[in-house]
Amino acid sequence: MNAVYILWKREIIRYFRSRARIVGSLGQPLLFLIALGFGLGPVFQRAGQGNYFEFLGPGVVSMGILFTGIFAGIQIIWDRQFGFLKETLVAPVSRFEIMLGKALGGATVAFMQGVFVFVLTLLLGVRISSLAFLPIALVSMFLIALFFTALGIAIASLFEDMQGFQLVMNFVVQPTFFLSGALFPLSGVPKFLQLIASFDPLSYGVDAVRGAVTGQSHFGMGIDITVLVVLTFTVLAIGSYLFSKIEI
């Protein structure tokens, strides 16, 4: 377990050491909040859907976690390139411990990034409907973080270099975000879009956070959390299998 701890700690040290990265990755969520939140807010209101900014807030929080998490996982490719992964793989610890330490470290980093975006949405005017639900929001955020970090590791285990990274961004990460209901309510959209969204893991993450913050969820928070837990364990298992197959 010491190995898991030190791998986790490495991610945390590196995260806090690169303050530019922390501030930099707040830029995109801020843009979404301002442009879409304030830009589309009035239309949303006129359509009788209520406060769009409060609706969008949890979606943007989830987006921040998604991007940071996937990226933290994908960084294994960099570790591989810069040789550090070899140092880890010749150590007398199991591949599973290495994968777990990295996943937990990356997830913690993505979670913290999510908390920063969350604070940002609060500063810009999102109000939490009930403080009692705050822990549920935080747990959901951590599950989203762990899921996508593990997914990033699984994907990274399949690639030898960054050639495929753009592919992953365009065909996995972007669709996952845009089709998740982070930006629009899933009730009332065409059936095919609803169907796609119901296969998108992030839909459940967004819905859980939104349910905890605004008190309104699409699938129901019980289902959201259950789906998130099951998916997270599944992708952790797949990730550690693929990671165990890496040859340097």
Binding site: Y5, I6, I77, Q81, F82, V90, P92, E160, D161
Partner: protein
Amino acid sequence: MDPDKNIIDVRDLVKNFKGFTAVDSINFEVKRGDIFAFLGPNGAGKTTTIKMLTTLLGPSSGTIFLNGIDVVKEAEKARKSFGIVFQDPSLDDELTAYENMEFHAILYGIGKTTRTERIKELLNYVELWERRKDLVKTFSGGMKRRLEIARGLLHHPKILFLDEPTSGLDPQTRNHIWDYIKKLNSSEKITVFFTTHYIEEADRYAKDIAIMDHGKIVTKDTPENLKKKTNSKDLEAAFLRLTGTTIRDEEASGIDRLRMRSRVWGGRR
């Protein structure tokens, strides 16, 4: 097989990749306490062999014993008995020298008190104690190598693998690094297994040499005997006589391509 005499014992080792045989049934042993040079042109199969010796790659067939431990069957146990300095730097640039050492020590399960003492001892040994709080990215190539050697020694290994430990370094730094290695070999009785393209290093420091080419061991002997056998004035001439003068073209792997791209980008993560 006698682990007291031969600390490395390789029998009928084979590694097949899709369509070709990188290592073709090689046999060799390394005596305990030896400084052993493993030479060969690019693409001869040296790196593949080292990867198998250090558990990073599973052999297609054959056996490897390190310090009496079966590397294939007891990989985790075998890993404790060797230290390795890879061909390419394997430090975390964003961590300090001390943090890199600590990371390694914890991965190898070294307890806190021993850890603190041993890190201090080794950083002093490679003259980096004063720089322990600096990020590794501020280090020169020679300093990074010294730190890697110190790190490879943290867990008291019996064997130290050095894959081209001095490539890309100036003669001053190379001599300096060899001073450490020789001192280690004599004072701590560590067996040193190294590869290099600087054939004169093998001539100067190795007690025994194996030359590999086209996946096979071409010859094994002392530097003196190799020169005598081939009637050469120096080891480089002997090496060329044994392996020919044709240039070997290696196909770039994905990692090589990535490395090149990172050079274009300036090596930043």
